[in-house]
Amino acid sequence: MSWILPEGASLEFEGLAAPLRIIRGLGGGTQGQVYEVELEGERLALKWYLPACIARDGGLERRLVASIRATAPNEDFLWPIALLRASPASRPLIRIRQESFGYLMPLRPPAYVGACEHASGRLAIGLRQVLRACFGLADAFHALHLAGLCYKDVSLGNLFLEPGSGSILICDNDNVAVDGADHGAVLGTPGFMAPEVLLGQARPGADSDLFSLAVLLFRLLTRHDPLKGQMELAIRCLDEPARRRLCGEDPVFIFDPVDDRNRPDPIEHAAALITWPIYPRPLQALFEQTFCRGMKQPSRRALTGQWKQELARTLDRRTLCLACGQENFQASGAPALCWSCGAPLPEPITLLLAHGSVVAAPDNELHAHHFDALAGEDLRRPLARVVAHPQDPRRLGLRNLQAAAWSAETHDGRSQPVQPGESCSLAALARIQSPAGPIAVQRPTRPSPAT
């Protein structure tokens, strides 16, 4: 890579009191180059634009200034902090003749990896973490859209994941603009672009973000593309005109309940066929809503709030197969079989809350939105977590993550306190009184299958 900014040098920028040290180049994309930099002992990232990009995108500087003033919708965005132009003294150190600028943003911590690592199957990650990442993505776009903004260039390349927790970070926030207001240069990334944008019939905005968001969620959940089925197999050379047909002129969802022209191929598209049945009906229905009716009717696409709700509920349904240990997410009630090994799933203990229910499986969590109908779904601050007994993993407990003690009530009416950080065994309990609200413990009505 030919770096525009000199690695190892200290540069002065207008408006920055201290010099900025360019530690090293991190990567280059279509718009610019990104560097790790140090400012007064703090590590940050600096994106420096290519002159061609600045020339093409007249609104770039104005958008960046507006974003910097508005501040990030939530902490999952690597949001611009400051716009930088070299001082006259440092100008000659920049290795291009044309005038250019850049912006500072937080540096992605090393534990976060590009989402394409997951899409390409190189990342060890669990289903719970993938669902949490999907929730984080819906939550971030929810905050962005509620602020009246749109993102315009949703793609795998702009998302980072922390595989241990499923936390996310979103980069490349320089196309963000007030929805419908700014005609920026970017149209999106083919494969993620809404059909109306790909065909040049609409400018990218919040409605097309909803399409792109659904594509990205689908790819994270299935490691497959929602439009690549039989119709893709019929294409010999997958070039630009072919993509335009497949994703713009005649796009058909591979699991469209009515139009079966684009079903996945059992061998070529095995990923989709294996992973899709893992997810509960209501979550599948949001994809159908977006990729069937919403394909040509942008206003019918599933909204960020719907995604948040269904993804959070899917996580609440998580249970582990006793036979193979794999995670399952099917709706409770009807007897179900493990998607992975086919063993019957036991009917689990369920925690009933004022606003929803959570299956008792290790690592499942209770949050404020389970107790308060007005609280939006938020997975950042769990109030309680299901834990397995260290000696006997079949025995489940609930750990108090709140700041005040709980009162746990047994079936015979006795009660005992559960201090913050302590866990109580669910087996003997009927109910827990917590500061957030009551937690009722519902036991299975049918016996668990013999193992």
């Binding site: 994309g29 718009q31 199957g121 990334t189 593309d225 630009e240």
Partner: protein, 245 residues
Amino acid sequence: MPFPDVKLANRPLHFLYLCDCSGSMAASGKMQALNQAIRQSLPGMAAVARDNPEARVLVRAVRFADHAAWHIETPTPVDQLEWRDLQAGGITAMGEALKLVAAALQTPPMEVRALPPVLVLISDGQPTDDFAAGLEALLRVPWAQKAVRLAIALGHDADLEVLQRFIGIEPATAGRSPRRPLQASNATSLAQYIQWASTAVVGAASMPASRVSETPLEPAAGNIPLPDLPPTVLDPTDDVGPLVW
């Protein structure tokens, strides 16, 4: 529990270098510069391949001098590629090289389904054999018609007209100048063009990058919109002036 062990369906992306190894390449270190440029570009190319799960990037190379021959015959995943140095010596059998590539792009051996191949022709002179027959044979093959064809002219003796015929003569479209052979007049610019072809162009042909409104969504010619050429980065070590071929 781990996410099920499934991988994104992918398609092969064949990348072929066609390298001029005629005697003139021995002058002024051109052959060494080309070997270096390709070797240096491989890590970046491997990174692009990693970032594009929809593509399986496979590299081959043809050398041509008195005759054309495979330098790397087996389509090789870029992360397994070791670049052995090309040696200069002989005349310029470019037409023969095109015929060799034409045969390789027939189905079979080409897969039925693939991404558009990328062909990069690098030359510092004029073909000494029947270039027209070679080009005709190449352009009869559907995969060659679909291919992204790039040409790099080394120095001032390169035959720009021949290279232009290889990449195709494209009518000027509104707002876009027609594609021309890339002219490398020193080792630095050669390295930049090789890097561009092996990263930005491979990226564009495999998993499309962000589009801006100026990129025509329906390109007039060529079935892959080509990315911007690299900016001219001033080389800080160039104080003595670059060696000009």
